[in-house]
Each structure stands twice: as structure tokens, then as C-alpha cells.
């Protein structure tokens, strides 16, 4: 199955991944080859087989809700690329 450049751009958009035209030209055949390789899965009869999400048979793990000491905001915000006081600063998210 050959992905078109527009399909590659659409997937990249869904993933919020900026790509150059050169990236698109490189990825289209590579992704197509990988998806072709997945075709072997289609031939397997999986009727009635439940999916495995995790190897362990675990469900609804509960624990007491005990607060830990909170992290120091200054330590956390040291990693912030752009801050204003104790807030993270980003560009406007709405069109004007």
C-alpha cells in the first residue's frame, strides 16, 4: 500500500509533527514499506481471540489516596522554557 505525500502530511498533522517536503518525500516510501510488512497480520485467523493489552492479567488496581509531600514549584518551573511567575507562557491558542 503506497502512502501519498498528502497522506503523510495528514498523519504528521494528527501527530503535530512538522515535516519538510524532503521529510515527506523520504517517509512516504519508508512508511509504505513498513505498512506492507504489516500485511502478513491480515492473513491470521483471529476470530474469537481476545486482544492482549498487557501481558499480566491485572484489572482495576486500587490503592489508598495518600498525599505525598508536594514538589517545590520552583524546582518544577526550572525546566520551563518560557514562564511568567509561576505560570507557563505560550502563544495565544485562539485565532484573533
Amino acid at each position: 500500500m503506497a502512502l501519498t505525500p498528502d497522506e503523510v502530511r495528514h498523519i504528521a498533522h494528527l501527530a503535530r509533527l512538522g515535516l519538510t517536503d524532503a521529510d515527506v518525500a523520504k517517509f512516504a516510501p519508508q512508511l509504505s514499506e513498513i505498512l506492507d510488512y504489516f500485511d502478513r497480520l491480515k492473513a491470521v485467523d483471529t476470530a474469537g481471540i481476545p486482544p492482549t493489552a498487557y501481558p499480566l492479567d491485572l484489572h482495576n488496581i486500587l490503592r489508598d489516596d495518600v498525599p505525598d509531600p508536594p514538589s517545590d514549584p520552583e524546582t518544577i518551573l526550572k525546566n520551563a522554557p518560557n514562564r511568567e511567575g509561576n505560570l507557563l507562557r505560550v502563544r495565544a491558542i485562539l485565532d484573533e
Binding site: L17, E33, R40, L41, V44, I49, I61, P81, R91
Partner: protein
């Protein structure tokens, strides 16, 4: 005191520490000198932490003087840069986390710290653990200590190379599709992937959450058991961590495997396998037989050939979700000059992620997108069930399975980077183990001689049923003690 401290196992170094024949500070100095002498050729580390290591070594010596601590107390270790270390930069081999300093320790670090560990630094790796060669690091490739123009394997490239080169006495890695066992095999050291759920993933930066597991690189099987015992156990901060007791394994290893039932699944001896690898692994199987194990070569795991396809649907799907968090807003590299928040996010990810990470995010996003979810992701999860069931049936008859780790020895740097799918196929023998959540160990079983004369290590893989690391270690230790492959060191 031995002339060269840097070739000691944990077991040997710990005995010297307890007898006060050597101090932790002396072990650290030996490691730091070894790093200084070899690191420009190996490039095992992204960040070195020699200064804090000296404080840790002094603390360990205090503990040992008071008769406190365990076998790991005061032993210098290296940690893969995907494991969170409070106050020490953790990059995951990615530019997008270049400035990132974690605010908490991973659970494995907390456990090692309580035991008085000494951290030499954070090791190089394929970006976000995506790769089989170490070449996908944003910080440049790690070189195989046995042949510097070859890869050490990946993704835990620096952890494997640092132990092989005598820089670290042991190292932590992570294994999602073979990222501990494959580099262990290619670098000639022991590498263990514990059962899924054995070791807490709290503080392990997520790649594929249903497959990831932390484990050790060491220079002996007993050493791997010591580190395993130290880092395994339930942690309520990881809801997939199992509430199952961790057995004391290291001190119960006897070398006796009489009557051990060993299965050899023929599907793992794939077409195109290097003859030297086949010969070495078959030699290891004959050796187990001569030690008293019952060998059965008629094991059938017919879905093995689907493993790589199942994995490359599931792992990128989970990764595309896990890596959505890197948006340049809260931490890490951030593109700031776009016209909108969305543009900044897209450019952050464009410039912050390397090519392989982008490729896998794209594959995963596609497999999870509307209209394709059932055909790819659900289908892969169903076949995951089939692979698990085949292993379950096999472990009704066998205590352990023995297979190759890799189809070939270490390849040259740059040899396979142009063809992503060919690179993925390197992991054919290790991937099914993560899919089923089994424990697996890789240990040295021989050498191949390359065309250029290089002597390249070969590994053999031993698998057991979930939470039966004891059988796996029993078989691995008995084999190792009857050979001297693990005692050989690279000509650095």
C-alpha cells in the same frame, strides 16, 4: 588487591569491600581512570557524574565500615539515560530533552540509593530507546569495545558498552523489544530483561508502556541476579508492578541443572542467520545437555514469524501516545518563534525529535487513526494473545527455552541505517519475549571472526515462564560456569 579492579565482577568487588581490602572510593577512582582512558573511543556516556559519585562512594564506605549495606553497596554503576535521576539531566538520547532535569528519582534509583550505590553517569542510547544499534542518539553513536567501527547494539548502547569496556561494574538498561538482551549479546556481557511487572517502571521514561522493563547489564550471571534482587519488587506507584515476592536467587545458584527441561524452538534459527551464531548457540545447547539437561529440539512456536510485525504496530502505537507529551510547553527544547501555539508545537517536535522517532510516531499515529485501528492495532493485540498462548503451552513442557539473541554479530556503524525495516528485523529473536511479558537473559556463548579479523561476541538467550527468573538464572549460571566466554575482555 588485584592489579586491575575494573575487570572484577560485582561479586568479587563486593567481597573485597567487605574484607576492607579495597574501598568504594578506590573502585570509583579505578572506574573514572578507565573512563578517562577509553571514553573518547567508546562514547558510552551522555552525562558523567563523577563529582556526586565521590560523595556517594564516601557514604558507601561509611556504611560498609558500620557493617551495613548489601552486595551492591559501593559498587560503581552506570544508568541508561531513560531512567529519571533527580537533579541529574535525563535526555533519553534526544535533543528534545537536552536541558531536562527530573524532579524525582525512578523507583529503581531510590532502591539502589538506599543500598549505597555510586552512579558514574547516564549512558548513551538510541533516542527514546527506539533503535537496535545506538546510532539513533542525538549525541552521536556509541562504539563497540570489541570493534570500534561497529555498533554495540541498542537501544541500551552505552550501558552495554560501559560494562564491556570495564568502565562500570554494572549498568541499568531498559528493554522494550530487546534493548537489553541484544546489546548484551553484541557487546559480550550478560543482560537481563525481567518479567513484565517485576521491576517498577515508575520514573522510566515511557516508550511502549505494555512492553517496557528495566534490567541490568553485568559481567556474570550471578551479578545479574544480585542487581535483579535489588531492583525487583512491588511498587504501588506503578500499577502494572506485580505483588509477587522476589526470590533470593544469587545465593541459591549451584551450577546443578540435572533434569532441567530445555526446549529449543526451531523458528528462532531464522533464514540468513550467520553460521558462526548458529554454531555457537548450538554449542551452548550441547553444553547444557552435557551438564545433565534434557534437550528437546521439536518445540513449535509457529507465530514467532509474526512477532516483528505485531511489535511494530503495538510499540509505535503506544509510543505515539506516550510521546505526545513533548510539546515544548512544560519542559525540554521549545521552538518559540512561530506565529501560533500550534506552529510552535509542530516546530518543537520537528527540530526536537530525530528521524527514527518521527517515523515511529507516524506509524503509530496511522495505526491508531480512525478506520485503521481494527485492521492494525486490534489485530496485533489479538495475535499478541496467540503468541502468549504458544509460550504458555511450551512452558507446560519445558522449564526454559534456549534461542539465539541476534541473527548476526555486531554490524558496522552506518551499515544498516538507510533501511529501517531491515534494522527492525534484527530484533526477531528478542521481540516475542516482550510481547508475552516473559523474562529473558542473554549471556556470552562464543565469538565470530569478521572478514576484517575482528573478534565479535555472540550471545545465547534463555527464556522462562513469567516470574520464574529462578529457572532462567539456574540454567544461565550453570552454562556460564562451565565456560570462560564471560571472562574475556575486549582489546582496548
Amino acid at each position: 588487591m588485584p592489579d586491575d579492579l575494573t575487570r572484577l565482577t560485582i561479586t568479587e568487588a563486593s567481597a573485597l569491600l567487605k574484607q576492607r581490602q579495597v574501598s568504594s572510593v578506590e573502585l570509583l577512582q579505578a572506574s573514572l581512570e578507565r573512563i578517562a582512558a577509553t571514553e573518547d573511543r567508546i562514547h558510552a556516556f551522555i552525562t558523567l557524574t563523577g563529582h556526586t559519585a565521590l560523595e556517594q562512594a564516601r557514604r558507601a564506605d561509611d556504611m560498609l565500615a558500620k557493617g551495613q549495606g548489601n552486595a551492591l553497596t559501593g559498587i560503581p554503576a552506570a544508568v541508561k539515560d531513560v531512567i529519571s535521576t533527580k537533579g541529574t539531566r535525563t535526555t533519553c538520547g534526544s535533543k528534545i530533552l537536552e536541558p531536562f532535569v527530573p524532579i524525582y528519582d525512578a523507583n529503581v534509583i531510590t532502591l539502589l540509593d538506599e543500598a549505597g550505590y555510586v552512579m558514574l553517569g547516564k549512558t548513551n542510547m538510541d533516542e527514546f530507546a527506539m533503535g537496535s544499534s545506538g546510532e539513533n542518539s542525538a549525541y552521536g553513536p556509541t562504539h563497540n569495545p570489541w570493534a570500534l567501527d561497529r555498533v554495540p547494539g541498542g537501544s541500551s548502547a552505552g550501558s552495554a558498552a560501559s560494562v564491556a569496556a570495564g568502565q562500570a561494574f554494572y549498568a541499568l538498561g531498559s528493554d522494550t523489544g530487546g534493548s537489553i538482551r541484544q546489546p548484551a549479546a553484541l557487546s559480550g556481557v550478560v543482560g537481563l530483561k525481567p518479567t513484565y511487572g517485576r521491576v517498577s517502571r515508575y520514573g522510566l521514561v515511557a516508550f511502549a508502556s505494555s512492553l517496557d522493563q528495566i534490567g541490568p547489564f553485568t559481567r556474570s550471571v550471578r551479578d545479574a541476579a544480585l542487581v535483579f534482587e535489588a531492583i525487583a519488587g512491588h511498587d504501588q506507584r506503578d500499577s502494572t508492578s506485580a505483588e509477587i515476592d522476589v526470590p533470593a536467587i544469587a545465593d541459591s545458584l549451584t551450577g546443578d541443572i540435572k533434569g532441567l527441561r530445555v526446549g529449543v524452538p526451531r523458528e528462532y534459527f531464522v533464514d540468513g542467520m550467520d553460521p558462526a551464531v548458529r554454531e555457537a548457540v548450538e554449542g551452548a545447547i550441547r553444553q547444557l545437555e552435557s551438564l545433565g539437561a534434557h534437550i528437546d529440539t521439536e518445540v513449535a512456536l509457529p507465530s514467532t514469524g509474526l512477532g516483528v510485525a505485531v511489535y511494530y504496530v503495538i510499540a509505535p502505537s503506544e509510543a505515539s501516545s506516550n510521546l505526545a507529551r513533548y510539546d515544548g510547553v512544560k519542559y525540554g527544547y521549545s521552538y518559540q518563534d512561530g506565529a501560533s501555539m500550534w506552529e510552535n508545537m509542530e516546530r518543537t517536535r520537528q527540530h526536537g525529535f530525530g528521524e527514527e522517532v518521527k517515523r515511529r510516531i507516524m506509524v503509530g499515529t496511522y495505526a491508531l487513526s480512525a478506520g485503521y485501528y481494527d485492521a492494525y492495532y486490534l489485530k496485533a493485540q489479538q495475535i499478541r494473545t496467540l503468541i502468549r498462548r504458544e509460550f504458555d503451552a511450551a512452558f507446560q513442557k519445558y522449564d526454559v527455552l534456549v534461542t539465539p539473541v541476534t541473527p548476526t554479530p555486531a554490524f558496522k556503524i552506518g551499515e544498516k541505517t538507510s533501511d529501517p525495516l531491515q534494522m527492525y528485523l534484527n530484533d526477531v529473536c528478542t521481540i516475542p519475549v516482550n510481547i508475552a511479558g516473559l523474562p529473558g537473559i542473554s549471556l556470552p556463548c562464543g565469538f565470530a571472526t569478521a572478514e576484517d579479523g575482528a573478534r565479535l561476541p555472540i550471545g545465547v538467550q534463555i527464556l522462562a515462564k513469567p516470574f520464574d527468573e529462578a529457572s532462567l538464572f539456574r540454567a544461565a549460571h550453570a552454562y556460564e560456569q562451565s565456560t570462560d566466554w564471560h571472562k574475556q575482555s575486549p582489546p582496548l
